[in-house]
Symmetry: C2
């Protein structure tokens, strides 16, 4: 497995993921455990909601996005460690049967002033459906170690 | 069930939740599905990680926070609908056996200019462990309908 150190990242790099199918039963079971609101649980209740039909919890979309990121080629050494977010929104609902994938772009790379052995990369991760419409936009700051002197 | 319209919210209001116990097996099974990184999956691998021990995925913490919010007294009419976040961070890890709860404070209430039938409330939701230490801070903007003229 390739692992990337801070020195391996630069602004403008992009990374993509595989696609993942969004299953109606998992939308409902995720919602039952974590976001039990009618528009995430029941098709007929959802019709009269702001979503005009069953929609996945945004937290389900966020969790699936993380899965796709972890599996993808970004691969910071030490793992994907979020130090906070600059932007996080869900521009449109995720529906049963959607096929989601992520595209990430490195926006900025900087060495930590307080911790010279590590740095932070700012990454925009856009989650897209099968029509290439964004369903989630996340701009996060990830902690990445610098390459050890010996390696 | 009480449902609150935009007119029922004002800056300074606070809301609390019950506590929820964080189970080690659910930490691992959530991570296996959504965030399969060693420090969320395996105690011994986690010891050498930045977390110095098994820690819940931040997305698991976020999902549990949503559960506590949905069950709590905030209760906007039409549901808890996030229109985006101003701040989102995980200041410390969530450990197996932690007891989490949330405290929310309304920071701002404003009527929508483009949609006079609704507005937005800005809410800071802090997720705390059993030692009252924040494990997640989330400042979100929620869409809330105005009270219909007839009610």
């Amino acid at each position: 497995m390739i692992e990337r150190y801070l020195e391996d990242f630069e602004a403008g790099q992009t990374f993509r993921s595989r696609r993942i199918h969004i299953d109606v039963d998992r939308i409902k079971s995720f919602a039952a455990e974590f976001d039990p609101q009618p528009f995430h649980l029941d098709e007929s209740a959802a019709i009269d909601s702001i979503f005009r039909g069953l929609a996945a919890s945004g937290w389900h979309t966020a969790a699936i996005t993380m899965r796709l990121l972890v599996e993808g080629d970004l691969k910071p050494a030490g793992g994907i460690l979020g130090a906070g977010f600059d932007e996080f929104r869900w521009p449109r609902p995720v529906r049963p049967g959607d096929e989601l994938r992520v595209e990430s772009e490195v926006l900025e790379v900087r060495v930590s002033k307080s911790r010279p052995d590590q740095g932070v990369i700012k990454v925009r991760t856009t989650t897209l459906n099968q029509n290439n419409e964004p369903v989630q936009v996340l701009v996060g700051n990830l902690i990445v170690p610098r390459r050890p002197a010996s390696s």
